[in-house]
C-alpha cells in the first residue's frame, strides 16, 4: 500500500525536459491530501475486489463444506463453511452409487479423443485452406462461415436421427456419436482461428520445403504443425473445457446407457434418483470439478489468452 504511486506529479515539476507549460510544485499539505485520497481510493478498490472474489469463491467453498457433512447436519448448517466432523464416507458413497471410476474413464476417453480429433481435423483443413487454392476452396470457406450462424442446439434433433441411421445409438456406439457430434461442432470456429495463424507463416517457408523435397503433407506435419503449436494448445484447452463440461450432447446420447456416461451425466442422473442426498451430490460435484479447476490453476495464463484470442480473432 505504501508504494501507491502518489509521486506522479514530482518528476514532471523537477524534470530537466523542457515543457511548454509550468506545473507548480505541490505543497506538502496538498501531497498529504492527495496521498490520503489515493489510499482511501485504493482501499475502496481493494474492498470492491475482495467482495467480488468472495462471491466467486464462496459457492465452491460451500460446496466442499457440504460434501463433508452428515445427512443430518447438511440441512442445518446453512451458510456456514465450518465442518465439525468431516464425513469422507460421502465420497465413498458417490464413488459407488454413481460408478465414478467408470464415469471418469468415459469422460477422460471422450475428452481425449475429441481433443485429438479436433486438433487433427481442424489443423489439416486450415492448412489446406490456407496453402492451396484448389477448386472448391472458396465454396468450402463460405459454407463454413454460413453455418457458423446455425446454432448447434437447432441441430440436436436431426443429428440424433443421423446417428440412429448410422447405427450409432446404444452402448459404446453412443460414445462414438457424442465424439462425432462434438468434433463436428468444433470445426468452424477452430478452423478460422487456425487459418489466421497459418496465414502468418511466410510462403517462402513452404517453397523452401518443396525445394528440399518435402511433400505437401510432410510440410504440414514437420513444418506448419509445429510452428502453430501455441494456437493448437489454445484449442486443446478450450476443447478440454468444452467437452469435460458438456451437458446437452452427452445428455441426448448417454442418458440411456448407464455404463457409458460422463461424470456430469452420471451425477445429474444420481441427483434425480436421490433427490435429498445433497451432501453426497456435493461430493460428486467436487470430484467432477476438481480436474478442470486443477488444469485451470496450472494453465490459467493459456486459458485466458486462448479465450480472448478466440473472441477477437475467431
Amino acid at each position: 500500500m505504501a508504494t501507491t504511486p502518489v509521486q506522479a506529479p514530482r518528476p514532471r515539476s523537477q524534470s530537466t525536459v523542457r515543457t511548454s507549460y509550468v506545473v507548480p510544485t505541490p505543497s506538502a499539505a496538498a501531497v498529504a491530501r492527495l496521498r490520503a485520497l489515493r489510499l482511501g481510493w485504493g482501499g475502496v478498490r481493494y474492498g470492491l475486489l475482495a467482495l467480488y472474489m468472495a462471491l466467486c469463491l464462496y459457492p465452491f467453498l460451500w460446496m466442499v463444506a457440504t460434501s463433508l457433512r452428515s445427512s443430518r447436519s447438511v440441512f442445518s448448517s446453512g451458510l456456514s463453511l465450518w465442518v465439525d466432523a468431516p464425513q469422507w464416507q460421502n465420497y465413498q458413497d458417490i464413488w459407488d452409487a454413481a460408478n465414478i471410476p467408470r464415469a471418469a474413464t468415459n469422460t477422460v476417453i471422450i475428452t481425449a479423443v475429441c481433443m485429438a480429433a479436433t486438433i487433427l481435423t481442424t489443423s489439416m483443413s486450415a492448412y489446406a485452406l490456407t496453402r492451396s487454392d484448389f477448386p472448391g476452396r472458396k465454396f468450402v470457406m463460405v459454407a463454413l462461415l454460413t453455418t457458423f450462424l446455425v446454432p448447434g442446439e437447432m441441430l440436436i434433433i436431426p443429428t440424433f436421427y443421423v446417428n440412429r441411421s448410422l447405427n450409432l445409438i446404444g452402448d459404446w456406439k453412443s460414445v462414438v456419436a457424442v465424439i462425432l457430434v462434438m468434433t463436428a461442432g468444433a470445426q468452424v470456429f477452430n478452423i478460422y482461428l487456425l487459418i489466421s495463424h497459418f496465414q502468418t507463416l511466410p510462403a517462402e517457408l513452404f517453397d523452401a520445403a518443396a525445394v528440399d523435397g518435402e511433400s505437401y503433407f510432410g510440410a504440414y506435419r514437420r513444418i506448419a504443425f509445429p510452428l502453430i503449436r501455441p494456437a493448437l494448445a489454445t484449442i486443446s484447452l478450450l476443447t478440454f473445457m468444452g467437452v469435460w463440461n458438456a451437458y446437452l450432447v452427452p445428455l441426448v446420447y448417454l442418458s440411456q446407457v448407464p455404463d457409458y456416461q460422463t461424470l456430469t451425466i452420471a451425477l445429474i442422473q444420481y441427483s434425480k434418483q436421490f433427490q435429498t442426498l445433497y451432501h453426497v451430490m456435493a461430493a460428486g460435484a467436487v470430484v467432477t470439478l476438481v480436474p478442470v479447476v486443477l488444469v485451470f490453476v496450472f494453465l490459467q495464463r493459456y486459458f485466458i489468452r486462448g479465450l480472448t484470442e478466440g473472441a477477437t480473432k475467431g
Binding site: 466467486c56 489446406a128 446454432p151 462425432l180 518443396a210 456430469t264 490459467q300 477477437t312
Partner: protein, 329 residues
C-alpha cells in the same frame, strides 16, 4: 557452410522439380493432398451440419413421433408452423429466453467493466484476483447448477439461511427455484455469477492494450476521471464490447443447462426456454423437464428448432445492424 548450401540445392533441385512442377496434371489431381486433408472436415460437415439442416427443415413439415421411420410420417404442410405461431407456451419460452438474454447482458456488461477497470488500475495481486474471478467460468454449468439447487433450497439452503436467519429480511424460507416469482430471477442470477468472469477478462484484455502514457498525458492536460474514461477507455473497449454483445446474445438465446438442471422449466412453464421447449417434444433425455411429453412429437420439435434458429439469426442481424450504425455515426 558457404559451399555446402549451393551443392545441396543443386543436387535436390533437378531431382525434385521435374517430377513436381512441369508435368501438366489436372488441377483436381494436383490438389489431391489438399482435398484429402480437408476431407475429414468436409465429411463431418456434410453429415452433421449440412444434412441435418435439410433434415430438420423437412421434418418440421411432418407429423412424426421420431420412433418409426421418417418415411412413414405424414406430410402435414405448414400445420406445425401455424401451431407454433399460435402456441402460447412457445411464446412464453421465447419471452423467457429473450428476457434472460437481455437481463444477463445488461447486468454483466457494467459489472464486468467495473471489475476489469479495478483490476487494470495497477493494484497488487491483480493476477490472483483475475484467476479467482475467472474460476466460475471454467466450471461445468450443469454441476454448478446442481450445487445451487441446494444452495437456494428452502430446506437448509445457504441463501435462505442468510436472508431468513441472519438478516431477517424475509418472514419464511422461500423456495427460490420452486416459486413462479423467484425461479427465473434466481437462475438468471446464477448464470450472471457463472459467466461474469469471461466478460471481465475480455474487457481486461482490451484495457491492457491502452498504453499507460495515454492516461498520463491526459492527466498532464488536466483531464478529469470522466474525461479520461470517455476519450481513452471507451474507444479502447468499443470493439470488444461489440464482440461481447454478439457472443453473449448468441449464447444466451441457446441457454439450456442452467434451466434444465435447476428448474427443468418449471414451475409451470415459467422458466422454460426455447431449447428446453424443443426438448420437451423429443424422446431423448428429457426426463425431469417440466411437462415433458409422453409421446414425442419430433415433427413439432423440429418446427421449434427452426423457430429457435430464426430468432437467433434475427438477433444476430439486428445486433450487427446496430453496431454498423454506431460505427457509421
Amino acid at each position: 557452410m558457404d559451399t555446402a548450401l549451393p551443392t545441396s540445392a543443386q543436387q535436390t533441385l533437378p531431382a525434385v522439380s521435374p517430377s513436381r512442377r512441369p508435368r501438366r496434371t489436372t488441377p483436381l489431381r494436383s490438389h489431391l493432398p489438399a482435398y484429402l486433408m480437408v476431407a475429414p472436415t468436409v465429411i463431418l460437415f456434410l453429415v452433421f451440419m449440412v444434412f441435418p439442416i435439410a433434415f430438420v427443415l423437412y421434418t418440421s413439415f411432418l407429423d412424426w413421433n421420431g420412433i418409426g421411420s421418417v418415411f412413414d410420417a405424414s406430410f402435414t404442410g405448414v400445420d406445425n408452423y401455424t401451431r407454433l405461431v399460435q402456441d402460447p407456451t412457445w411464446w412464453t419460452a421465447v419471452r423467457n429466453t429473450v428476457l434472460y438474454a437481455v437481463i444477463k447482458l445488461v447486468a454483466e456488461l457494467p459489472l464486468a467493466l467495473v471489475v476489469a477497470l479495478t483490476l487494470n488500475s495497477g493494484l497488487r495481486g491483480s493476477t490472483l484476483f483475475r484467476t479467482i474471478g475467472f474460476l466460475p467460468v471454467i466450471t461445468s454449468i450443469a454441476v454448478v447448477s446442481l450445487a445451487f439447487t441446494f444452495f437456494f433450497s428452502p430446506l437448509g439452503g445457504a441463501f435462505n439461511d442468510l436472508l431468513f436467519n441472519r438478516l431477517g429480511v424475509i418472514d419464511e424460507p422461500i423456495a427460490f427455484l420452486g416459486e413462479r416469482d423467484y425461479a427465473f430471477w434466481t437462475v438468471t442470477g446464477v448464470a450472471v455469477w457463472h459467466d461474469l468472469g469471461i466478460n471481465m477478462v475480455f474487457f481486461l484484455a482490451a484495457l491492457q492494450t491502452v498504453p499507460r502514457d495515454l492516461y498520463d498525458a491526459a492527466m498532464v492536460d488536466g483531464a478529469g476521471w470522466w474525461e479520461k474514461f470517455r476519450s481513452i477507455t471507451v474507444p479502447a473497449i468499443r470493439p470488444i464490447t461489440a464482440v461481447i454483445v454478439t457472443l453473449s446474445l448468441a449464447g444466451s438465446l441457446k441457454v439450456f443447462d442452467y434451466f434444465a438442471v435447476m428448474t427443468g422449466g418449471g414451475p409451470g412453464f415459467s422458466t422454460t426456454t426455447m431449447v428446453l421447449y424443443m426438448f420437451r417434444y423429443t424422446s431423448f433425455g428429457g426426463g425431469g423437464l417440466s411437462g415433458a411429453a409422453t409421446i414425442p412429437e419430433v415433427g413439432y420439435g423440429s418446427t421449434i428448432a427452426i423457430g429457435l434458429g430464426l430468432i437467433i439469426f434475427a438477433a444476430v442481424l439486428i445486433q450487427q445492424a446496430i453496431s454498423r450504425w454506431q460505427e457509421g455515426r
